[in-house]
């Protein structure tokens, strides 16, 4: 194992932000850490990146405790913070030079590293522009670039796509994938977007309220829902009585509604069509559609916590 997270815990004054988290990451894997805001992802990542001292447990990098020897491990980590941790008044190149130099990279080596990184993040043409003038996506790319300068073995990314347009997001996802495939880089990818994690990651840890509530490959996670099906109902107008009727049905496990869409989790054998049309008639609700969806991680999260992943 490249990285072993063992019973990692963090207690702030009033919050138990992380509870006994266990994670194992192998060389070359892309690992996803999925969870809603406040789940404890950033706190976990800060501990793994040696920035925050755990109140319990430890993290082992190649078998060595990061608490005992944070200095040598930092060289091997590339950390992409959740914030745009850059000097906005400096150009892309000046940022890379600054962080490269304080990383101890010098002269020709630094020059070639900066060239390579700029190519990787697609900012070679914009190297002389101050970061302030960059789009959100470009800033995020440079934020990743800085973490790549010292050729880390593992790159740890904390929500690297927050607040940017879909195109920029795709660019970043592709970059992460290329880094993994072409450079063999191990990736720990944190997000509250399940599509990203689903698309990118070999294995996923789902976190909620400080705990890992499920882990495994995409398929393994969805198998949690194997005995169940997720039904999406669209209505013309949503009556509370219709929702009440669904909730009253003890066979239905979870009911979640948003606008004119209602999602329920039902056992595989549940005669859903007959039942739901029945409830609709009783409550004078006109149905637009009723469909059984392939389960998503969203559904897995809903199943496990009773809450939607996104707030």
């Amino acid at each position: 194992m490249l990285l072993d997270v063992v019973n990692l815990s963090k207690r702030f004054k009033h919050v138990q932000a992380v509870k006994e988290v266990n994670m194992h990451i192998q060389q070359g894997e892309i690992i996803g850490l999925l969870g809603p805001n406040g789940a404890g992802k950033s706190t976990t990542i800060s501990m793994i990146s040696t920035l925050l001292k755990p109140t319990g447990g430890d993290v082992y990098f190649n078998g060595k405790s990061i608490i005992k020897d944070p200095k040598s491990i930092r060289r091997k980590l590339g950390v992409v913070p959740q914030e745009i941790a850059l000097y906005l008044d400096l150009t892309a190149e000046e940022n890379l030079q600054f962080f490269g130099k304080i990383n101890g990279i010098k002269g020709k080596k630094l020059k070639s590293r900066i060239e390579e990184v700029l190519e990787w993040i697609g900012l070679a043409e914009r190297r002389k522009d101050v970061v302030k003038k960059f789009s959100g996506g470009m800033k995020r790319r440079l934020n990743i670039g800085v973490a790549l300068l010292h050729e880390p073995e593992i790159i740890i990314m904390d929500e690297p796509t927050v607040g940017i347009d879909p195109q920029s997001r795709n660019y970043i996802l592709e970059t992460v994938r290329r880094l993994n495939q072409q450079k063999g880089m191990t990736v720990l990818y944190t997000s509250h977007y399940m599509e990203e994690v689903e698309y990118l990651c070999d294995r996923i840890y789902i976190m909620d309220q400080g705990e890992v509530i499920a882990s495994g490959t995409n398929e393994e996670l969805k198998d949690i829902l194997s005995s169940e099906q997720t039904i999406t109902i669209q209505v013309e107008r949503l009556h509370k009585s219709f929702i009440d009727a669904l909730i009253a049905d003890s066979a239905l496990k979870k009911v979640d509604n948003r606008d004119k869409t209602v999602t329920v989790i039902a056992p595989k054998k549940y005669p859903f069509f007959k039942k739901i049309t029945g409830y609709a008639e009783q409550t004078e609700t006109s149905l637009v559609s009723v469909e059984v969806k392939a389960p998503t991680l969203e559904d897995v999260f809903l199943h496990l916590t009773g809450r939607a992943l996104r707030d």
Binding site: L51, L52, R74, A85, D89, F98, K101, G104, V146
Partner: protein, 420 residues
């Protein structure tokens, strides 16, 4: 590697027009406005030197004069001569001349404030430190002056008494010289018919010696405000750099720096060095421009640099303290309060706007306790031609301020308790 930290702070400043305006343009504009508007000379003495002198009169000039007149009538002199003397008497009031024309002259008034006190107050005043000297006019002083001047009777009693405050050597020395000159002139007024003394001549001779005592050159208002504004605006370097540092923390740049194995203390002292360097650079640019544009010249360049380096060091201390407070409070408030309130207050007390230290010894003391005030006093003294011996104390004080601020900042800077 410290160079990298200084370089990025410099780059950020250069790219920030607002910061540049505040750090470089504003002081130059204010120097021109204040310097030319208030024009002429602000006596250097005002801001750097000020003495209070008490005068107490045990006699009665009017009565002395009457007694002398009576005596004159009974003298065996030609009535023509008597008339001439009587006429001379009308214009010859030694005490008035001393108080109004000598101590009242522009030159002396600016450095010595003469206060008439009653005999009852003398004992109390002697115990206090506030006065540099006490001049006592003995009983029948005027009478004795008259007899010696008009009748040629050399009289030891025609002498003023002076109590000097040993703690205030320079000012009491000036007073002593004034009295000596005054006394010498009085004793020269002997020839009947050439009565009267020339107060202007006294003041002139004395002001020559004031200059030698103070080794003072006059300071014009341009020079005064060049120093005043520069020590004012140097303080903004502390708030600017500490704000930069806080933004580094908020945007996790600080974390990113720690991840390169740069220690938090290296980072901390990077801020201090960066502030010192940028403050010094700012001062050199500002003084450079004022030398060319306003002709404010520094003869003792070495002392000039030493004062500015220590002032910059004290500013580095402020920068460190503000950074620690910002990090601790997790906000930019400390820097903001400093640059919106404290800097202006310090500038006011330190005398950047007006030589307020001349208003009272208390204000003078408070002013010199502010780092900018201490720096300003030192630089003005240097400009006036004082020697190092009169200046180094401010340099020492600035170093002390810097070290104390640094020590407090180190104690306040969040330790790695929560971090690995």
């Amino acid at each position: 590697m410290i160079g990298q930290f200084i370089k990025k702070d410099l780059l950020m400043l250069i790219r920030n027009r607002n910061e540049l305006l505040i750090l470089l343009l504003m002081p130059l504009v204010l120097i021109s406005i204040l310097g030319f508007a208030l024009g002429g000379f602000i006596s250097g003495g005002n801001s750097t030197f000020h003495a209070k002198v008490a005068i107490v009169d045990y006699g009665n000039e009017q009565r002395d004069m009457e007694i002398f007149k009576e005596q004159l009538q009974s003298l065996p002199l030609a009535s023509e001569a008597k008339n001439e003397i009587a006429e001379g008497l009308e214009n010859f009031r030694p005490i008035r001349i001393l108080i109004d024309e000598m101590f009242g002259s522009e030159e002396l008034k600016q450095i010595i404030q003469l206060e008439q006190v009653s005999p009852e107050q003398v004992d109390r005043i002697k115990k206090e430190d506030e006065y540099s000297a006490i001049i006592e006019i003995p009983e029948k002083f005027t009478y004795h002056v008259f007899t010696s001047a008009f009748l040629g009777e050399k009289n030891e009693k025609a002498k003023l008494l002076l109590y000097k405050n040993e703690g205030r050597q320079i000012s009491s020395q000036i007073v002593e010289e004034v009295l000596e000159q005054f006394q010498r002139q009085l004793s020269n007024v002997t020839v009947i018919g050439k009565s009267g003394i020339d107060p202007e001549a006294v003041v002139e001779t004395v002001s020559g010696s004031i200059e030698t005592v103070l080794k003072r050159k006059p300071i014009n208002s341009i020079a005064y405000y060049t120093v005043g504004m520069n020590v004012f605006f140097i303080m903004f370097v502390a708030s600017t750099i500490s704000s930069f540092a806080y933004r580094e923390k908020r945007l996790q740049v600080f974390n990113r720096i720690l991840l390169t194995n740069v220690s938090r203390w290296f980072y901390f002292f990077g801020i201090v060095f960066s502030t010192i360097f940028i403050a010094l650079l700012q001062q050199i640019i500002l003084y450079g421009i004022s030398t060319i544009v306003f002709q404010v010249r520094w003869e003792n360049v070495l002392a000039f640099l030493v004062i500015n380096m220590t002032l910059s060091f004290a500013i580095g201390g402020f920068s460190a303290l503000l950074t620690s407070m910002n990090f601790r409070l997790d906000s930019e408030n400390a820097s903001n309060v400093f640059n919106s309130i404290i800097v202006t207050l310090f500038a006011l007390l330190g005398g950047s706007f007006l030589p307020i230290s001349s208003f009272s010894p208390m204000l003078n003391l408070i002013g010199n306790l502010t780092p900018n005030g201490a720096g300003m006093t030192a630089l003005l003294k240097l400009l006036q031609g004082y020697e190092w011996g009169d200046i180094y104390i401010y340099v020492v004080y600035l170093l002390v301020i810097g070290f104390v601020l640094l020590a407090v900042a180190v104690m306040l800077f969040p330790k790695r308790r929560a971090e690995i």
